[in-house]
Amino acid sequence: ARAPAPSDPASALLQALGLHEAPQGVPTLRPVPPVMWRLFRRRDPQEARAGYPLRPCHVEELGVAGNIVRHIPDSGVLSRPLEPARTSGPCPKWTVAFDLSGVEPAERPTRARLELRLEAANEDTRGWELSVALWAEAEHPGPELLRVPVPPGLPLRADLLGAAVAANASVPRTLRLALALHGGAATACPRLAEASLLLVTLDPRLCPPPRSRR
């Protein structure tokens, strides 16, 4: 993008890196998710030289095109009331919200993976299924978009691309989802301990389409 020449070197470098501004203040330092460390190390050119060449603008580990990967924690987790342990009746519904305002309109999502960490009193999540819907503004969930089984003991992952996140289109500024558990043999409902979104996008301005071979 041809923007006016920035005045100081730091702004010039920021612009060259496709960043509008340096994050203000000191970020809330939090542990870097292992998946992000793994992806970073995987892209380390030193490793590439050790024998597995890197494809430009491609996230090898996730097998999708992309040059920006974001790990976005649920911005609602702190405001969600702790659910009381429920021994009978339907389990509580959850809403999770992800702030995607940092994603540029030109960026195209190529992977949007919801990751939930559920805590069940006795780890018995057999038969549980999680349904995902968009949380519409009218305080009512929209139609169910997908349903995935709850794996025992593992983080639950659900691919949202093409369901809650449109492919080949700009992402919304906020993604708000309504989640609900169904079925299950456990007597106590699991608790939602953590929710995050792993979003991979491709910025066509920094990743020109591969040139056809001459």
Partner: protein
């Protein structure tokens, strides 16, 4: 940080010179998680004959660069001057950082490190 001794003029043949970019120097060390910096390098040196010709194992010389070096050798005071010493092969880096919404972001940037220089 550049290679010690480079100082003023170009000195020596066209080749890669060390240039280390430190994110701390530009005050980004609080929000850049990794790396702390990287070797960007730069190109400097003479592109006259015979430097404009390919060195052993170096990038292939462009005919135009050789022609230009020949013209410059024949008429140094007139014409377009010698070819330029520029990056001939580059490689990418990835940066892991916190953004304004405290998300952890991994961005991949092509053509950030000069691996080889050549006369063009």
């Amino acid at each position: 940080h550049t290679e010690p001794g480079v100082g003023g003029g170009p000195g020596g043949t066209c080749r890669t010179r060390r240039l280390h970019v430190s994110f701390r120097e530009v005050g980004w060390h609080r929000w850049v998680i990794a790396p702390r910096g990287f070797l960007a390098n730069f190109c400097q040196g003479a592109c006259t004959l015979p430097e404009a010709l390919p060195g052993p194992g170096g990038p292939p010389a462009l005919n135009h660069a050789v022609l230009r070096a020949l013209m410059h050798a024949a008429a140094p005071t007139a014409g377009a001057g010698p070819p330029c010493c520029v990056p001939a092969r580059l490689s990418p880096i990835s940066v892991l950082f916190f953004d304004n919404s405290d998300n952890v972001v991994l961005r991949h940037y092509e053509d950030m490190v000069v691996d080889e220089c050549g006369c063009r």
